[in-house]
């Protein structure tokens, strides 16, 4: 664990992500204004010392909204990825471990989800279920779990053939024991890498859906819906779109960067394990 922190890429992304999470959690304390507070006298003010990021078309402080928006985006990102990870890893490990018809069924299921472009699938589901945060999250889960199912299945196929799995079975371990005690811990690194990159992707997709009007209610501060609201005023008040856009970009990049760094660090660790005097 300590070795991972030696990776510069990881440090940098952790600092950014730490800042974002801090901002999201303490938005109530940190934000200079109340996000519901409309100040119709000061509409579309450019950035100034009173309003660092300016104000929007209803006179709300953009810095405040961006801070509360981080809350919504990060919540969606973590929640969607956690649920997808749980579903995907469970199904993927079962498919890889048991193989046969179970594998066939689960993989055909993931394939059919993957057959649609992910944004199209999410759009179709939200269009069907109706607008709202929960429905948007359901739609994103429907897209995201397949990634985890595939990664988990692939790694499980590899771990399944290892001597320690056979040895453990051979002293009487049940299949579920082997899956929990040996398979899961040994496939967790690629899964975590995918999770980190996945959070970034989900945040981006959520912003996309909100931008298109399928996500959260326009009154709740969320980066995607802020972009949508700012669209009309882009030529006169570009800061309405600039700051939420910047935050989305930074967050997505930081998660991707973190995932990449994690991959490099873990790859290196695996290499070291292999190099370290194994015959």
């Amino acid at each position: 664990m300590i070795e991972i922190l030696k990776n510069r890429q990881i440090i940098l992304s952790l600092i950014i992500l730490g800042g974002l999470i801090f901002m999201a959690v303490f938005a109530g304390v940190l934000a200079p204004y109340d996000y519901k507070e409309k100040d119709l006298q000061n509409r579309q003010q450019p950035p100034s010392s009173d309003h660092l990021f300016g104000t929007d078309h209803l006179g709300r402080d953009i810095l405040t909204m961006v801070m509360y928006g981080a809350r919504a985006s990060l919540f969606v990102g973590f929640a969607v990825v956690s649920v997808s990870l749980a579903i995907g890893v469970t199904l993927g490990v079962l498919a890889g471990y048991y193989g046969g018809w179970l594998d066939e069924i689960i993989m055909r299921l993931t394939d059919s989800f993957l057959a649609f472009p992910s944004m199209f699938l999410a759009l179709a589901i939200t269009a069907f279920l109706g607008q709202g945060m929960e429905n948007m999250m359901l739609a994103l889960i429907a897209v995201e779990w397949t990634v985890f199912a595939r990664v988990a299945r692939g790694s499980t196929l590899d771990v399944k053939t290892k001597g320690y799995v056979r040895a453990s079975r051979w002293v009487g371990a049940s299949n579920s024991y082997v899956m929990i005690k040996h398979v899961l811990p040994n496939i967790i690194s690629p899964v975590l890498i995918m999770a980190s990159i996945g959070i970034g992707n989900v945040i981006l997709a959520a912003a996309g859906l909100s931008f298109l009007g399928f996500g959260v209610q326009p009154s709740t501060p969320e980066w995607g819906s802020m972009l949508n609201a700012g669209r009309t005023y882009f030529s006169t008040a570009p800061w309405l779109m600039f700051f939420p856009g910047l935050l989305i970009m930074m967050t997505v990049l930081a998660f991707n960067y973190f995932g990449d760094g994690l991959r490099d660090a873990l790859d290196q660790k695996m290499k070291n394990l292999e190099l370290e005097g194994r015959f």
Binding site: K162, A167, W170, V171, G172, N186, L273, G277
Partner: protein, 305 residues
């Protein structure tokens, strides 16, 4: 104790165009309690396959394995569980027998945990005793597999195999990956453990010297068949293959004398499986060869006297 009858294993590989490979064909074997049986033969002759079938890690294509009179082959996993601790395999590659993410101590304790019915204190006392038995000290216990040397790791694997008080230990080239000096050490240790615990030991090896030193009885395998079986095989080899094997070791650097090539054998050739390489073959060798009893020995060659 362990008895195998007419074991045969055919591997099928390939999806569309299937290739069949007979790795073991018709092996009979009996191991008595406390006895050491060495199995020797060149690479690819089916030693590991035979070992896996003996410990039920591989379902034989045909043939049966009995343990104290109970038929193990075809038994379902639930019933087989009772016998698992009794027969343990130490595989060719100690590398992946223990989980790289577990401390070796935890790996050795695993069989106790899986079997259940042991308290924490009992388990740790037992594990400590096992580590001592295989010559590892307390400092090795909390380490991870990659923090041990190959020889130390192999001892961990042996300790783990001993946890459930096995009656039969099958060592598949348990030392071939190790340094020569360590090899001798581990072999001696295995022998000591065997004597102390009265185990049956199947010792699979390339190393004829080691086979000779440890075993009560030797089986020589060639192309999936036993070609010679008995005591003092290397003092008085009767089968031409056994002699060739011994020569190969002795004159490793000299040119090996091969007989003239007889061309491809006809399809369905049922004669001696060693026919192509045998320096002593005659026309009569095209007849199929059975294991014959020749002066307290089993030999698969009509010429042996």
């Amino acid at each position: 104790m362990l008895k195998a009858e007419n074991l045969r294993c055919v591997y099928t590989s390939g999806l569309i165009k299937t290739v069949k490979k007979t790795a073991v064909c018709g092996v009979d074997l009996e191991i008595c309690p406390g006895e050491t049986v060495a199995i020797v033969g060149e690479s690819g002759c089916g030693k590991s396959t035979l070992a896996k079938m003996l410990v039920q890690q591989l379902e034989p294509t045909s043939g049966e394995v009995f343990f104290d009179g109970t038929k193990l082959t075809g038994m379902n996993w639930k019933n087989l569980r009772k016998f698992m601790g009794k027969i343990q395999l130490i595989p060719q590659n100690p590398d992946d027998v223990v989980d790289p993410r577990w401390t070796v101590e935890r790996s050795v304790a695993e069989p106790f945990v899986i079997c259940g019915g042991f308290s924490r204190e009992e388990i740790s006392a037992n594990v400590a005793a096992l580590f001592e038995e295989v010559g590892l000290s307390a400092e090795h216990r909390p380490r991870y597999p990659h923090e041990l040397s190959g020889g130390e790791l192999q001892r961990v694997v042996i300790a783990r195999a001993l946890t459930l008080k096995p009656e039969l230990l099958v060592c598949d080239e348990a030392t071939s990956m190790l340094d020569v000096s360590v090899q001798a050490f581990i072999v001696t240790m295995l022998k000591e453990i065997q004597k102390k615990r009265g185990l049956g030991l199947v010792f699979i090896t390339h190393d004829l010297e080691a086979a000779k030193a440890v075993s009560d009885r030797v089986l020589v395998m060639y192309a999936g068949e036993i070609v010679e079986e008995g005591k003092d095989v290397f003092d008085r080899p009767l089968h031409p293959y056994t002699r060739a094997l011994m020569d190969a070791v002795q004159y490793a650097s000299l040119e090996v004398v091969l007989p003239e090539d007889v061309g491809p054998l006809p399809d369905g050739f049922s004669g001696c499986s060693y026919y192509k390489l045998c320096r002593e073959r005659t026309e009569a060798c095209k007849e199929s060869q059975k294991l014959r009893n020749v002066s307290e020995r089993l030999v698969r060659c009509w010429k042996a006297k």
